[in-house]
């Protein structure tokens, strides 16, 4: 009996492995390994999809030195839906798209300003798409980002992804992965923020840069905030890990801090029937640089001053950003409506439809606790 079962299993396994019509039907050689997808909308309402993919033909011919940076190719296709547009790349290349290696999805201005609802489903539904792929907004078109060349070489989607992922070390960059975007997308306010990309040309050399953060209200793009402001967005959102921060602490003296640890706690209490938010930002930082010459000693007083002015600076800038977000852009990219939902569910139920005005009228209090951990080589008295 055992031998019979093992025999049947071996036969089945052989059929399974060697049946070319089945599992190996879509051999990797017949797949177009997509690295980046850019989506724009044409005037006639059809989608224009730009694909950056690995040029497998060129790669096999390339020398082994280039293995780390595979040769890339871009394609531009059109269709009534994202899927049909992507699928039509097969006609151009004779290969079937493989999305699992996709690094970044870039949404052009024509999409972020009006048509986000219609494009998002494909990336959630298609099983090959990774849930952790990075999403970014283009300042103009998504196509120009993926088609940008520095010399003869395309600026790779992999490099764009690396730049977005550098938010781990640089608080000036805000990152949102697909699963986080859908999470925010399905929330009550549908407000979120995305890193904004642009093609920058300097001395005839092109590069793709993150120029700030795109702020959304009810899935529509509202405004861009600068990279400097993004640091405070990350602080308020509790997504800052490591960043540089500089400010004036005395006349003509500027200090640069290296933030090495941060934790933001957000609390809500109801005051006079309206939400009141208390945001406490705790930061640990090292002094990286002080302008105004080198001194042998640093007075404790000076250290206290750096500390207190730093706390005040962060508090002021954070409060400014909160005002800008809620009163200027009408956007809850900071996700504070969620606090109302969790902690004050009855109030939330009553005001679910006018959350924007509730958030505008709410009270916000920011408290900053800055702890200087190290001062470098300098001596403290």
């Amino acid at each position: 009996m055992r031998k019979a079962i093992i025999g049947v299993l071996v036969i089945l396994l052989s059929v399974f492995i060697f049946n070319e019509n089945e599992i190996y039907r879509k051999d990797i050689r017949n797949r177009l390994v997509i690295q980046g997808i850019g989506i724009d909308m044409n005037d006639n309402g059809s989608y224009s999809v730009t694909i950056q993919a690995i040029d497998t033909n060129a790669q096999s011919a390339a020398s082994s030195d280039d293995a780390s940076q595979p040769p890339l190719k871009t394609f531009k296709t059109e269709g009534n839906t994202i899927y049909t547009a992507l699928k039509s790349v097969t006609e151009l290349e004779g290969k079937v798209p493989l999305y699992s290696q996709n690094r970044v999805i870039i949404l052009g201005k024509s999409i972020t300003e009006e048509n986000m609802d219609d494009v998002i489903d494909f990336f959630v539904r298609d099983v090959e798409n990774s849930s952790s792929v990075c999403i970014a907004a283009a300042e103009k078109t998504a196509g120009e980002i993926l088609e940008a060349k520095n010399g003869d070489e395309y600026i790779s989607a992999r490099n764009i992804e690396t730049a977005i992922n550098s938010n781990e070390f640089d608080g000036r960059i805000f990152r949102l992965q697909l699963y986080e975007l859908i999470n925010r997308y399905n929330s009550s306010t549908k407000d979120f923020a995305l890193p904004m990309l642009s093609v920058v040309e300097k001395d005839k050399e092109k590069s793709v840069e993150i120029i700030g953060t795109a702020v959304f209200n009810n899935t529509r793009y509202r405004e861009k905030i600068s990279k400097g402001e993004t640091v405070f967005l990350n602080m308020l959102y509790n997504t800052i890990n490591n960043s540089a921060l500089s400010y004036d602490y005395e006349d003509g003296k500027k200090v640069s801090l290296n933030i090495v640890g941060a934790e933001t706690k957000r609390k809500i209490v109801m005051k006079d029937g309206m939400p009141s938010f208390k945001i406490t930002i705790k930061l640990k930082a090292d002094i990286a640089e002080i302008t105004g010459g080198v001194s042998a000693k640093m007075e404790v007083k000076e250290l206290d001053k750096i500390n207190s002015t730093g706390e005040e600076y962060i508090k002021t800038e954070s409060t400014k950003l909160i005002n800008k977000m809620y009163n200027g852009y009408n956007s809850d990219a900071l996700g504070l409506a969620r606090l109302i939902y969790i902690n004050e569910k009855n109030f939330f139920k009553e005001n679910e439809k006018n959350l924007d005005s509730v958030l505008q009228k709410s009270n916000y209090e920011v408290e900053v606790n800055l702890e200087i951990r190290r001062i470098g080589h300098e001596f403290v008295v």
């Binding site: 089945l12 849930s131 952790s132």
Partner: protein, 363 residues
């Protein structure tokens, strides 16, 4: 006619049931919980424990005095026909769950692992493998369960630990936002997904050791696992979880450790191991009931027949999402669980009481 051809320890038995229930947990389909908020899914396991204990009361009363024979053995003394009818109900129930278990594996593999592939070969291969497990017997399945648990439990803990950095408590939702009714409904659904209660009803005489202790440890541990998995699914993915067909697989795909990303490969192996144990055990129990209470053929013949029918059933469902949703129906499961775990033991219990009273009168 007792099912006592070889006993396994309480530890082996409940480990086997733990893995079997783990499969149901990890293959959880978000479509079952359309009206329930995320945090309620964390509360649901607590309700589940309560319901689990209540529905097991008839079985507890039945086996309180003795676990030397199972409820079918008890019935056969009174009425052979009734015993056969009840045993047939169990066979149908176990067969149904075997088909559903493989169908879910098929849906997963066909949708996520090999979306372009015809699943027929994989299905046949998997079912033959499970039949082989059933052929090896109860003791072997018990031993394999302990070995598999050595991989499965650390693998799940590892995946969860790597996700701790992504936990965001803001993804939780207010408890009982839509009332208690929806939570209770999901808890009952969850109990209906637990074929293991019926396995306990039948296989208890094959277990040696402290059963009561084993049962409670099993009930609490699998509920705890469920709560932990829901906790991570809710806090890491938030609303995104409800957009995914298999949310726990998506959760594993988000796990990262050092330079290694997408730990869903580990998750898939957990899934396959648990499926082998579960389907193997169910096929074994069907063959054992048929051999013991219907007699005429060898156990191996029954295994082959069950395997063949399972292949036919799954081929009919494979690649047909409408048929899958029709078959993998929570109401069918709840009704069958109620019949096998509550009604049948109660009938046997009434017979036993009558028999006892008759004996007392005679004395």
């Amino acid at each position: 006619m007792e099912l006592t051809k070889g006993k396994i320890s309480t530890f082996q038995f409940f480990t086997m049931l733990f893995l079997s229930r783990t499969l149901t947990t990890v293959t959880y389909l978000s479509s079952y919980t359309e009206n329930i908020r995320l945090s309620d899914m964390l509360i649901q396991p607590i309700f589940r424990i309560g319901i689990g204990i209540v529905i097991m009361l008839p079985l507890y009363l039945l086996y309180r005095s003795s676990t030397s024979e199972n409820l079918l053995d008890m019935t056969i003394r009174k009425s052979k026909i009734l015993a056969r009818i009840i045993s047939l109900v169990y066979v149908i129930f176990f067969f149904y769950f075997t088909v559903v278990t493989i169908a879910r594996l098929d849906l997963f593999a066909g949708t996520i692992v090999f979306p372009e592939t015809d699943m027929t070969y994989i299905l046949i291969f998997a079912i033959i493998l499970c039949c082989y497990g059933a052929f090896l017997g109860f003791e072997t399945l018990g031993r394999s369960s302990v070995l598999s648990a050595v991989f499965v439990i650390p693998a799940l803990i590892f995946i969860m630990l790597t996700l701790t950095k992504k936990v965001d408590f803001l993804n939780l939702t207010p408890i009982f936002y839509n009332g208690v009714d929806s939570v209770l409904k999901v808890s009952v659904d969850s109990v209906g997904q637990t074929v293991e209660y019926a396995i306990i009803a039948l296989a208890l005489p094959r277990v040696k050791g402290n059963i009561k202790k084993g049962f409670f440890i099993w009930l609490v541990s699998q509920t705890f696992l469920m709560a932990v998995m829901f906790f991570f699914a809710c806090t890491v993915m938030g609303n995104f979880a409800s957009t995914q067909l298999f949310p726990f697989h998506t959760l594993a795909s988000l796990a990262e450790f050092a330079m290694f990303g997408r730990l869903d490969a580990i998750f898939t192996s957990v899934w396959i191991m648990c499926a082998f144990i579960k389907a193997g055990l169910l096929i074994y129990l069907q063959s054992d009931i048929l051999t013991t209470y219907f007699g005429k053929l060898k156990r191996t013949t029954y295994i082959i027949a069950i395997g063949f029918l399972t292949i036919i059933g799954n081929i009919l469902i494979s690649g047909q999402i409408k048929r899958f949703t029709f078959v993998d129906n929570s109401m069918i499961k709840i009704v069958l669980t109620f019949i096998t775990v509550v009604v049948t033991p109660l009938i046997v219990l009434v017979f036993r009481r009558k028999e006892k009273k008759k004996c007392e009168k005679q004395l």
